[in-house]
């Protein structure tokens, strides 16, 4: 196993100078393979979305000819039955995604602050409680969740999906926030308290700004969690009015003659928000992801 490391300025000994072209050549090949691996499924999506209807398969050409934007225009005009309430679906997905993101960040950071900074209890009591959530994976709790939500009066309610996703996204958020919070000296909080700051002020003015990278990482994680989910959105939202895009996409399968180019166009548009969010926040996200990492 060779792991390429950053080159140093010091002159390399002769043996390694010979190895240089090998390393460079090898990483060029690897780079090409990585790009190929990452892009083929995305290319496949574009290929299908941009083909004219009824001609939605690869036909020996690397690019559909002629390129047709009908499928994207069709989304706008709700051209087929499957797309009838596509904009309502988008609205539902956005409401769920943003709510899960905000609630996960808020609930997770409040709990981590209380336990780690206000020292309500030892740090591991919270991380252990969070990890208990993982003992039964969420996909095995469908039936209980369905019935519990009914008891709570949340049948066919977006709030049911939001709450379920928050419950399953918060544990990881807490682990990341607690870990990142250890980088911030508790003396900062204590100094602020001596100066008369309340717990809320310390949380808002000291804790949140200093853990911003972890908040960005956790927020992106939560949004992606909601955007990735299919199962709970399918199970807990039964009416057409409350369907989400993830469920709507899967419904194309109900018919063997579905317009697949519309399906892929919808898939592409659905993919854009999380991609945009990641690239907007990417500088912070990597820093926030150092769960259990080494400390220098």
């Amino acid at each position: 196993m060779t792991v390429a490391l950053p080159s140093r300025r010091a002159p390399a000994p002769p043996r390694r100078r010979l190895r240089r072209p090998l390393v460079e050549g090898g990483s060029a090949v690897l780079g090409f393979l990585i790009a190929f691996w990452s892009l083929v499924p995305i290319y496949n999506m574009l290929l299908i979305a941009l083909a004219p209807e009824g001609n939605n398969e690869y036909a020996g050409k690397l690019w559909p000819d002629p390129i047709s934007l009908d499928s994207f225009i069709g989304l706008w005009t709700e051209a087929t039955d499957e797309l009838e309430n596509v904009w309502e679906e988008f609205g539902n997905s956005i409401v769920i995604g943003l709510s899960v993101m905000v609630l996960t960040v808020a609930i997770g950071s409040l709990a981590a602050f209380s336990v780690s900074r206000l020292r309500l209890a030892r740090e591991w009591t919270l991380s252990d409680a969070a990890l208990v959530t993982y003992i039964i994976p969420s996909s095995f709790l469908l039936v209980p969740f369905f019935r519990v939500m009914h008891e709570y009066g949340l049948s066919d309610n977006l709030l049911a999906v939001i709450l379920a996703e928050v419950a399953f996204a918060t544990p990881y958020a807490i682990l990341v926030l607690q870990h990142y919070g250890k980088l911030i000296p508790i003396e900062l909080d204590e100094a602020a308290r001596v100066d008369g700051a309340s717990a809320v002020q310390v949380y808002l003015r000291i804790y949140l700004p200093l853990i911003a990278p972890a908040l960005a990482a956790v927020g992106t994680y939560a949004l992606l969690f909601a955007w990735n989910d299919y199962l709970y959105q399918y199970l807990l939202l039964t009416s057409q009015r409350h369907t989400t895009v993830a469920v709507g996409l899967e419904q194309f399968f109900d018919d063997d003659d579905s317009p697949w180019n519309y399906m892929m166009a919808l898939a592409i548009v659905y993919s854009l928000p999380p991609i945009a969010m990641f690239y907007a926040l990417r500088r912070y996200i990597a820093a926030g992801l150092t769960l259990g990492a080494v400390k220098g």
């Binding site: 196993m1 792991v3 390429a4 490391l5 950053p6 140093r8 990483s27 499924p41 999506m45 299908i48 690869y58 020996g60 609930i107 409040l110 709990a111 602050f113 209380s114 336990v115 206000l118 740090e123 591991w124 991380s127 990890l131 993982y134 003992i135 039964i136 994976p137 969420s138 996909s139 095995f140 469908l142 039936v143 209980p144 519990v148 928050v166 682990l175 870990h179 250890k182 000296p185 508790i186 309340s198 717990a199 809320v200 949380y203 990278p213 992606l224 990735n228 299919y230 996409l249 399906m263 892929m264 898939a267 991609i275 500088r283 820093a287 259990g292 990492a293 080494v294 400390k295 220098g296």
Partner: protein, 301 residues
């Protein structure tokens, strides 16, 4: 274009221990409780109660007896173990290796990173739909390319349990490897440069720097990541549901997809729940390992 420097606000120092045992009083205690209240409510209403309900519905001996004699269950259990073991370990080893590749200081490698991250940011349903569509039938991209450029009549990928399982695993790795690569990349960036420089001055080559400096420092992160990924992969539903859809004839189903069919299509919810509960002993082992490991990280280095 990507700046992955770890932004530690202030150089890391071990938190002071002196205050741990003090007791909170009055408004301090009220605030601390108020802050933890939302999570406590979520935990009780949406984790503890549904779990207890699930155990009450599904933890019955006769259901487990029924499962043990059900060949579909046993096959999906085997599928799940293969899926989790292969997908998690291949993904983690490859992510560790690729995080080293992305440490290289080359402009084109930095430009490649956002492309490599793309699959993680792509939502699961669209990503797996694309995999499904690439593989299904002779119109799929893969069979088309095989035929046009190599004259090969590609197999019907989802007609074989082995091939269907393989593609489920490939699609899962494709989607999730970038996240763990980012995590390992952040871990590598937090290794003090002095250590690597010192090793190099002492004549350590690539392999020995990796084996004796990087690997020991990343071991804990690698282990924690593997445990978390095991939990997440075990509960994964969307991959198998969309990529192979369990084809052929439920042969590539994993526990989560088969449990849904038992609960909804076959109208036997308790059996579906019991199926999920059979994963619990293993999950408890993984969760306990994770708890112990996370407590230890406080004293690391």
């Amino acid at each position: 274009m990507t700046d992955f420097a770890v932004r530690a606000p202030i150089a890391a120092q071990p938190p002071r221990r002196s205050g741990w045992h003090r007791h909170l009083h009055g408004s301090e205690l009220v605030w601390a409780l108020a802050f933890v209240l939302p999570y406590a409510a979520v935990f009780l209403a949406l984790v503890a109660y549904p779990m207890a309900y699930g155990l009450w519905l599904g933890a019955r001996p006769e259901l487990f007896a029924e499962l043990v004699s059900d060949p579909r269950y046993l096959r999906s259990l085997a599928n799940t173990l293969i899926f989790v073991t292969v997908a998690v370990n291949v993904k983690m080893v490859a992510a560790l290796f690729l995080s080293g590749f992305f440490m290289r200081r080359r402009k084109w490698i930095k430009a490649l990173l956002p492309i490599y991250i793309l699959p993680w940011t792509l939502p699961a349903v669209p990503a797996y739909l694309s995999f499904h569509w690439m593989l299904v039938g002779p119109e799929g991209l893969l069979d088309q390319v095989l035929y046009d450029y190599f004259g090969i009549n590609g197999p019907v990928w989802f007609n074989s349990r082995g091939l269907a399982l393989t593609w489920n695993i490939v699609a899962y790795i494709w989607k999730w490897m970038p996240l763990w690569t980012l995590i390992f990349l952040a871990g590598r960036l937090s290794i003090p440069q002095d250590l690597l420089d010192a090793a190099e001055i002492d004549g350590a080559g690539l392999y020995r720097r990796f084996r004796h400096v990087i690997l020991p420092l990343l071991a804990n992160l690698y282990f924690i990541s593997t445990l978390i990924s095991t939990i997440w992969t075990f509960g994964d539903f969307t991959t198998v549901f969309i990529v192979s859809g369990g084809a052929p004839a439920m042969a590539s189903d994993v526990l989560s997809t088969l449990a849904l069919q038992y609960a909804l299509d076959l109208g036997n919810p308790p059996l579906g729940i019991a199926m999920g509960l059979t994963a619990v002993p293993l999950m408890i082992v993984v969760v306990v390992m994770l708890m112990r490991r996370l407590r230890k990280t406080e004293v690391q280095l």
